[in-house]
Amino acid sequence: MNVKLFGNLRQYGGGSHVAVDLGEGRTVADLLERLFALCPALRPHVVTPEGDALLPHVNIMLNGRLIRDLQGLQTPVSEEDSVAIFPPSAGG
């Protein structure tokens, strides 16, 4: 599946999209591990050093819903889903 990256995450991920093989993964956390294996420079800009939470104000959308409003990193994900990762973003 294609994971979409935005803002300065693109420079750490090498582009606006990264093709990730979800394999046996079932959750957003699983997907991130596979993503970080492909793009290790992304990890410190997305998750805490412990890897168990997103950094403050980093957002991940699954089909347009923020995963914080679903089941967080344990939100189920499948190959058909659209996943987008945003760095801290606000404006007005």
């Binding site: 803002g7 403050p56 089909n63 409003d69």
Partner: protein
């Protein structure tokens, strides 16, 4: 009377008689309304709510706050408060840059302008004094040429110039004031009020030489309060210079995230996702069109993004490609091409037009054209036609004379007011209230017509500030909105940029005002109460003009036409939130009752003023 922060001097300018008087503002009034928006609203209220916006009797209040021009982070905002010719409500609209700071350094807390000059004039503000000068030679010029001419006369180094363009001169109902850095007081048609007074420009001359301004009442406490604010801004995930998304990409960092949420009103909100959103995003403008990253007074964030097209049909260089502009002239009109967007932004800046209202009006016209309601055909995304109609609107030529009434006014004249994405006559900004529920309540209850800046619930519903809420739910949104509205009522009165609130809160803001002014009882709670007072006084002003709960609503399609893409099937659930909101506000069907006015210490003196 001396008070820290303030110049303790305000100018009352009567353009009809050509006279200027100076005075102080009562301490009690400053304590209750602070400055900026709050004090401006109080002055406009006292001037009488029933005034016609284009009457010489309408008051045009150019206001700053006690923090303006100080070291308080982001303290470079200038408020223009008046009765809006677009909405008939009270309105306030704020510009950035250095104009506000120079007004403080020029030794004034505000300019209260009434009357109508018999010929075009401009004002010169210096050393606490105001003179009225002949602007006949400037009338008809764009904002840029006006600024250039006045900078040639008065110099650049110590001078700020704010001006109206041809749109303001012709009373286009959404005409703006802009300064030398293209920072606009865009919303509500304050530029048209200037035009109605034959007021072309204001030259403000001042710097920090000599005695530093503003002087804090408690120097050490003020330095500590400033340090606290600066630390929060520098460390904030959203505001950190060159790290946070706002700093790197500007406000247009929002284009992709809002589009991904299926909450970007597209083609006059017939859809809520734009297939070319990426092409007009902050990321794309930064990669292909960034010319410079200018700053405002005391701001380390530098969210302004000057953009450029170096050659060809759309050659232009202009500040600043904001999210709202990229959306209004882009997705709202079905245009996904950056180069004409830059050109049209440049047009709007020079003619003196609010880009939000202009874009929403054009999108409305495109849908009206599909229905055969317009005198000229205008297709979705037709950049050439859009550019032509922007010029015609500014000069009120042909079809432009209809469009000059804004989206609602124009749609009404075309025979289908439901085509307008407007609330109380003002166009919505760039968030779809079907996909983001709380902001819809914000649009509906805004005292100046549809607006995201009265209560920016997007901070919570999307960015997760100060805490995260689910954009799709209605529960808790009324309280969330009220909190934002009250906080911003205070912040706009300081007058500090709202983006500071991404990293600071009532605690920091109240500490800054306490130390600066010496009003030691302005606790964080009291700051919120002051903001609530401002919001209720605005509402009371509107009530006296006949606005009630009937006007606290949204364009019909947000209740009847479902969102698309990642907000597929969603509709606004406004009525549920509105009931809760009125309960929290203590309002009855959108009207502030007398007991609430008394509770907030608004009523008695203000009732006398109305009479």
């Amino acid at each position: 009377m001396t008070l820290g922060g303030y110049a303790n001097r305000i100018a009352r300018i009567n353009l009809s008689s050509g006279t200027v008087e100076y005075g102080q503002v009562e301490r009690d009034l400053l304590r209750k309304y602070i400055g900026g928006r709050g004090l401006g609203v109080k002055f406009v209220f006292d001037n009488g709510p029933r005034v016609d916006p284009f009457s010489p009797d309408n008051l045009l209040a150019i206001m700053i706050g006690p923090c303006t021009g100080s070291a308080v982070p982001m303290s470079g905002r200038l408020a223009i408060v008046t009765k809006s010719p677009l909405t008939g409500t009270i309105t306030d609209s704020h510009m950035g840059g250095f104009t506000a700071a120079r007004l403080r350094w020029a030794g004034l807390d505000g300019l209260l302008i009434k009357g109508r000059a018999w010929r075009p004039v401009y004002l010169v503000v210096e050393n606490g004094n105001v003179t009225i000068e002949d602007a006949t030679h400037l009338w008809g010029l764009g904002v840029r040429a006006t600024v250039r001419a006045l900078q040639e006369k008065y110099g650049k180094d110590r001078t700020s110039v704010m001006a109206i363009g041809p749109a303001g001169e012709r009373l286009v109902r959404f005409a703006a004031w802009l300064n030398e850095h293209d920072r606009a007081s865009g919303r509500g048609g304050t530029g048209a009020v200037g035009g109605s007074k034959n007021l072309k420009a204001i030259v403000i001359i001042g710097d920090r030489s000599g005695q530093p301004q503003p002087l804090p009442e408690r120097k050490e406490a003020f330095q500590e309060a400033v340090r606290m604010g600066q630390k929060a801004i520098m460390a904030g995930a959203l505001t950190a210079p060159n790290k946070g998304g706002l700093s790197i990409y500007g406000t247009n960092v929002l284009m992709n995230i809002i589009n991904e949420a299926g909450s970007l009103p597209t083609r006059n909100a017939k859809e809520s996702h734009f297939e070319h959103g990426e092409a007009i995003s902050g990321e794309a403008f930064r990669e292909f069109n960034l010319a410079s990253e200018p700053v405002c007074h005391a701001c380390p964030v530098h969210c302004k993004k000057e953009v450029e097209v170096k050659e060809g049909r759309w050659k232009a260089r202009t500040e600043s490609m904001e999210y709202e502009t990229a959306w209004a002239l882009g997705a709202q009109c079905g245009l996904g091409d950056r180069e004409p967007l830059i050109y049209m932004l440049d047009q709007c800046n020079d003619y003196g037009l609010d880009t939000i209202e202009m874009g929403v009006t054009l999108g409305m016209a495109m849908e009206a054209s599909e229905k055969g309601l317009t005198p000229e055909v205008i297709n979705w995304g037709d950049a050439e036609k859009m550019s032509e109609l922007i010029r015609k609107t500014a000069y009120r030529e042909g079809f432009g004379d209809i469009l000059a009434n804004g989206a609602f006014g124009a749609a009404t004249l075309l025979g289908d007011p439901d085509l307008a994405l407007s609330v109380k006559g003002q166009a919505i900004p760039a968030y779809d209230p079907r996909g983001v529920q709380g902001i819809g309540l914000g649009y509906a209850t805004s005292n100046r017509g549809a607006c995201h800046l009265r209560g920016y619930t997007i901070a919570s519903e999307i960015a997760g500030i100060p805490f995260a809420t689910d954009r799709t739910v209605t529960e808790g949104k009324a309280q969330l909105l009220k909190t934002f509205q009250d906080l911003f009522g205070f912040l706009d009165s300081m007058d500090v940029c709202k983006f500071a609130s991404f990293s600071e809160g009532a605690e920091e803001f109240s500490a800054q005002v306490r130390a600066l002014t010496g009003f030691d009882d302005i606790t964080p709670e009291e700051a919120m109460r002051i903001g609530e007072r401002v919001y209720n006084l605005e509402r009371y002003y509107n009530n006296l003009n006949g606005f009630t709960g009937e006007h606290d609503t949204l364009p019909k399609r947000f209740f009847t036409v479902p969102g698309t893409h990642n907000s597929a099937g969603m509709l606004s659930q406004l009525p549920v939130m509105l009931e809760e909101y009125y309960r929290l506000r203590g309002w009855v069907n959108g009207v502030v009752p007398e007991e609430k006015l008394i509770e907030l210490e608004i009523l008695e003196r203000e009732r006398e003023a109305v009479r």
